[in-house]
């Protein structure tokens, strides 16, 4: 029996590991582990006021804090039947773009790209790719700037809240953001070209089901009240529990999810597979010229998908700013119109579908369920690592070579372990 262990996954957010057991070329066990404790955030939400819950559920994760905030306020507003305000919605979308740009820039350039260019980390890339590294870090900083401007703090801001914003940004600040987004576009187009030119390994190819939010109308975007599957199914957000089946595994504290008894994939690649044909502009052109059948079976294309989505975001930011600067600010926060109800907030975090499901009774949260994208991806990451283990061991690869590839697969999913760990628990070996 060969046991391959990656004790501490490097270059992912949070503390995780991988264990694979092989007997010859037969894979006996694959586990993606997470070494953090349960915080029981959903249980703590019960009995609290909706505004408080919107403040503390984003504390699940720093790197996805804006996604959690947007999912929380959308879920709570639906539960309380709060009227939607167009300026609030567009401002939230702009704030979301900040997180998308920041998170994708960090993952694509600093965490994933070194794998494909053969470097141990992003700093080592500086000699040959100085311009790419410098611009990528500036792009990450630009994403942070948008989040700080709109949410009040770089991480865990309070400006976005149930019913709207405490304070809307000045037009001059928005126009600055627009100009910066436009200035980054040429770099990002060039960088996407570099990523598109990389050869993606094929040792793990196998079809899967992709899942994401379905935005209203025919636009691409990062939220909606329906969920779309790559097999064509569309369901209402409120019905997610009938299709995405959660289970608790006795050996890992991990809540896992299956769709039709099978693992599925969420994230950037899932969005392009399900709704990529809605992309317009340069992002749309790139998607149409680069998309192949291999995308449907190879999670490494998630990296390229993130590049295309970053371009989409940089093109979308100026559109949003142009709309926002001519809209008057609402007079104040929109208020709840009922004290009882259920609402599901569906948002696409950078790493995939995020669900915040709240029930409210007599004005207090009475039930909460939060499902994070990394939790949804865990089963499929393990499946792809298993496929890779079988193939690579039959090609005679040694343990060190294989463990590098396993890490690379996990990393391509851009896992966010803090998110997953509000549900996933320690494995002590």
């Amino acid at each position: 029996m060969t046991k391959i262990t990656v004790n501490h996954l490097a270059r992912v957010e949070g503390d995780g590991g991988i264990t694979v057991e092989l007997e010859g070329t037969t894979v006996k066990r694959v586990e993606l582990q997470v070494f953090e404790g349960p915080r029981l955030i959903e249980a703590l939400a019960v009995g609290k006021l909706p505004l408080e819950v919107a403040s503390f559920t984003p504390r699940i994760c720093a790197i996805c804090s804006v996604s959690h905030k947007n999912a929380a306020v959308r879920g709570l507003e639906r539960a309380l039947a709060v009227k939607e305000d167009e300026k609030t919605n567009l401002t939230r979308e702009l704030m979301h773009m900040g997180e998308m740009v920041e998170s994708h820039a960090l993952h694509l350039f600093a965490l994933a790209l070194p794998d494909f260019l053969g470097y141990p980390n992003v700093i080592a890339m500086v000699d040959k790719y100085a311009e790419v590294v410098t611009q990528a870090l500036k792009l990450k900083k630009f994403g942070n700037k948008i989040m700080k401007l709109l949410n009040g703090k770089l991480i865990h801001g309070e400006n976005a809240t149930v019913g709207g914003y405490g304070k809307f940004p000045e037009n001059s600040e928005l126009l600055e953001v627009k100009a910066e987004a436009q200035a980054f576009l040429p770099f990002m187009l060039q960088a996407a070209g570099i990523v598109a030119g990389l050869e993606m390994p094929d040792y793990l190819e196998s079809p899967t089901t992709f899942v994401c939010c379905k935005p209203e109308g025919d636009r691409f975007g990062f939220w909606g009240d329906e969920i779309i599957f790559s097999d064509g199914r569309v369901i209402k957000g409120l019905e997610y529990k009938e299709h995405l089946i959660e289970r608790v595994e006795p050996h890992s504290f991990a809540k896992r999810l299956l769709y039709q008894d099978k693992p599925f994939t969420v994230g950037s690649l899932a969005r392009l597979i399900c709704i990529g044909d809605r992309l317009k502009g340069k992002a749309g052109e790139l998607y149409r010229s680069l998309k192949t059948d291999r995308w449907n079976k190879n999670p490494f294309y998630n990296n390229l998908a993130q590049g295309i989505e970053t371009i989409y975001s940089l093109e979308r930011i100026p559109e949003l700013v142009d709309k926002l600067i001519i809209m008057p600010n609402p007079a104040g926060l929109e208020l709840p119109t009922r004290t009882e109800g259920r609402g599901v907030g569906l948002v696409e975090a950078p790493r995939g579908l995020l669900i915040h499901d709240y029930s409210v009774k007599d004005g207090y949260v009475s039930d909460a369920n939060i499902i994070t994208p990394t939790a949804m991806n865990l089963d499929d990451i393990e499946r792809y690592i298993g496929l890779a283990a079988a193939k690579l061991s039959s090609q005679g690869k040694d343990a060190a070579e294989m463990s590098f590839e396993f890490e690379k697969i996990a990393r391509a999913y851009d896992p966010c372990i803090s998110c997953a760990t509000h549900l996933v628990k320690v494995i002590v070996r």
């Binding site: 501490h8 490097a10 957010e13 949070g14 503390d15 953090e36 404790g37 349960p38 915080r39 029981l40 955030i41 959903e42 249980a43 703590l44 019960v46 009995g47 609290k48 006021l49 408080e52 403040s55 503390f56 504390r59 699940i60 994760c61 720093a62 790197i63 804090s65 141990p120 980390n121 870090l137 990450k140 900083k141 942070n144 009040g152 703090k153 770089l154 991480i155 865990h156 801001g157 309070e158 400006n159 809240t161 914003y165 405490g166 304070k167 608790v248 595994e249 006795p250 050996h251 890992s252 504290f253 809540k255 372990i417 803090s418 760990t421 549900l423 628990k425 320690v426 494995i427 002590v428």
Partner: protein
Amino acid sequence: MKKKPSLGVYGFTGCAGCQLAIIDCEDQLLDIFSALDVKVFYEAQSNNDDSAEVDVALVEGSINTDHQIEQLKAIREKAGLLIVYGSCAHHGCVQAMSLGDGKWAERYKMVYGDTKITVANPMEAQPLHKFVKVDGFIPGCPPSAEQMLKALAQVINGSLPTYTNSPVCLECKFRENQCLLYQGKMCLGPLTMGGCTAPCPTHNTPCIGCWGLIEEANHTSELKLLKEKGFKTQDIINRFRVFGGSDLSEKIAELLEVK
């Protein structure tokens, strides 16, 4: 030249935002790393030496498994100074909001159901000072990049990080904001440790108390004030608890009696 101080950055249970707060010091990151001998920092580098002794250990996150208690004690043994940074490590943060209410097992069951899990012993989250001696702290949820830079500069020069022992309320006044308490909003600015420069009240949203309590925070007075504004006692205490829970657990009964 003086020897560079060695540093270990460690994380337990939280959102990882405190480690990000260091990484977000984008413009000064290289200077920081060149002024320190960084032995352990998983989120930022791959060559980590877990067994190394360090002059200073910066530890984020709260403790909520038996395994983590052992890991924390091992860090304490290897560290000259142990400095906690961020609300989770400092006072437990949101996961410790109901510490001591006796209902943790019930909450655990609500999330995980009845499946028997056998691999480790989880427990309610607690701050680090409940388990080991702590030499200093950097407050924040997360600490701001400015706060992190100041603290790291102090550590590099051989002193302990300092903190702001005046409330957010004062910093809010300096920014000439209209008082949210006067507007009838449940603002915790008078109780909460400053240093954040009051970004939330500056955006017309009340302080939620995320940096933890100032020394000698006057809950009784704030509770009375908020009750005058028409808020219910239980709602006010819930709000106090979200970020101040672990420090307040022994005071709750007393507060509930405030007329």
